[in-house]
Symmetry: C2
Subunit: 210 residues, 2 copies
C-alpha cells in the first residue's frame, strides 16, 4: 500500500497521529522523573529518548511544550536535571498511566503506584521498580522550530543497572531486564534477542558474536 504526502495530509488527525507515530520503528520506553519548585515529584512516560553519543555520554529526548509534558519540561529547566527509568514488563500499565493529564499538584507516583527512590547525585526521583535508571544533567535545549518541539540534551551522571544484564564487553541485554519497546503511541512489546553481530568488515561475511 502506498501513501503519498497528500494522502498523509488528508488523513483525519487522530488516524494520522497513530499512523505516523508507527513509522520510525521500535521506540524506547522511559519514565522521566523530575521535581518542581515545591519539591513535588513528577513522572511521565516518553518514547522519544535516543542515543546521542558515548563520550561524553549523551542522550536526546523530544518534548512537546503544548502537551501534558509541560510540567516535565518546566521542572527540567528549573532544576537542570531529571532521571530516565527504563520501563519493564511488570510496570507497563502504570508507566502508560503516567501519560494521563494529572494536575500539577498530583504526583504520578502516588496515582499510579510506582515508588520514588532518592538519587544521590541529582535532585530528581528514580523509579524504584525500574531495572535500569539514569541520572541526567541538562546540557542544553535545542528548539526545533519547524514543529515547535524541544530537543532536550542531557549527560548521564549515574547509571544504576542490575549487573547480571551486563556482558563482559559492556553490552547491556535489555531482554534480561524484561524491558519493553513501544510502537506508535500506545503499543507495548517485549523483545527477544536474535543475535549480536561482530563489527562488520568489507572483506568478511556478517559474523554472529559468540
Amino acid at each position: 500500500m502506498k501513501f503519498n504526502a497528500a494522502d498523509l495530509s488528508s488523513m483525519a488527525q487522530r488516524y494520522r497521529a497513530t499512523f505516523v507515530n508507527s513509522l520510525s520503528g521500535y521506540k524506547s520506553a522511559n519514565l522521566v522523573g523530575t521535581v518542581d519548585a515545591q519539591g513535588r515529584h513528577n513522572l511521565c512516560i516518553v518514547n522519544s529518548v535516543f542515543h546521542l553519543g558515548a563520550h561524553p555520554p549523551l542522550l536526546g529526548m523530544i518534548l512537546r511544550p503544548h502537551t501534558v509534558r509541560r510540567d516535565t519540561l518546566e521542572n527540567i529547566l528549573l532544576k537542570e536535571c531529571y532521571t530516565l527509568n527504563h520501563v519493564n514488563q511488570a510496570i507497563v500499565a502504570q508507566a502508560h498511566q503516567t501519560s494521563a493529564r494529572y494536575d500539577a499538584e498530583e504526583s504520578e507516583f502516588e496515582k499510579t503506584g510506582l515508588t520514588p527512590q532518592p538519587c544521590d547525585v541529582i535532585p530528581a526521583p528514580y523509579v524504584l521498580e525500574s531495572k535500569l535508571k539514569l541520572a541526567m544533567k541538562l546540557v542544553e535545549i535545542k528548539p526545533i522550530e519547524i514543529n515547535d518541539t524541544q530537543l532536550v540534551i542531557g549527560q548521564i551522571e549515574q547509571v544504576i543497572v542490575e549487573d547480571n544484564a551486563i556482558s563482559e564487553d559492556g553490552f547491556v541485554d535489555l531482554q534480561q531486564l524484561d524491558e519493553v519497546a513501544i510502537v506508535g503511541l500506545d503499543g507495548y512489546y517485549t523483545a527477544t534477542q536474535i543475535h549480536r553481530y561482530e563489527y562488520a568488515k568489507p572483506d568478511k561475511p556478517p559474523l554472529i558474536k559468540k
Copy 2:
C-alpha cells in the same frame, strides 16, 4: 550496580561505547538509501531514527560526520532526499553488513545482496526486501555542537507498507512485518506485542485496547 560520571569516563573506549549505546533503550533499525553525484547507490544501517512529529510528518536521525556514514550525509546534502527502510528478520545480517567501511564507489546493495528498488517521488533507492519504506525530503540539518554530530530532519513524502499490518485506527503493527529492534551497536531483537492501551485518563485505570 552503580556507575557514576567518573566511572563512565574511565572506561576503556570500546567498552564505554558498547555500554552507553545500550542505555537509551530499544532502538529502531533502518537502512538509509541515497545516491551520489554519479548516481551510485549508497546504503547504510542506522539505529538513530526517531519520531519528531506527525503533522507535518517528520523524522529525525543522528549522523556522525567522522564515521562511515559520511557518504550518506554528503549524499543527503547533495540530493536533499533519502529513503528509510525498516529492517526485518530476513535481512538482518545483510543490514548489519552495510555498516562495513566499503569504498565510496562500491554499492552496499551489491556487496550485501540487497535489492535497490526505484522510488517514484525522490531520486534515492528503496530496499526491495524491506516491508515498510519511507521516501524522505530533507528539511534541515541541525548541528549538535557538543559532540560534533548532525541532527538530520526529514519530512515523509511517501510510505510503502504491507497493508495487512495497518489497523483500523492507523496503527502499524511492526511485529506483523517481522521487524527488528536494536540494542547497543550490534544486538538485534524481534518483538512481541503485549498490549495496546487506551488513551490514559486521570480518573480511570489503564485500559487494554480491544
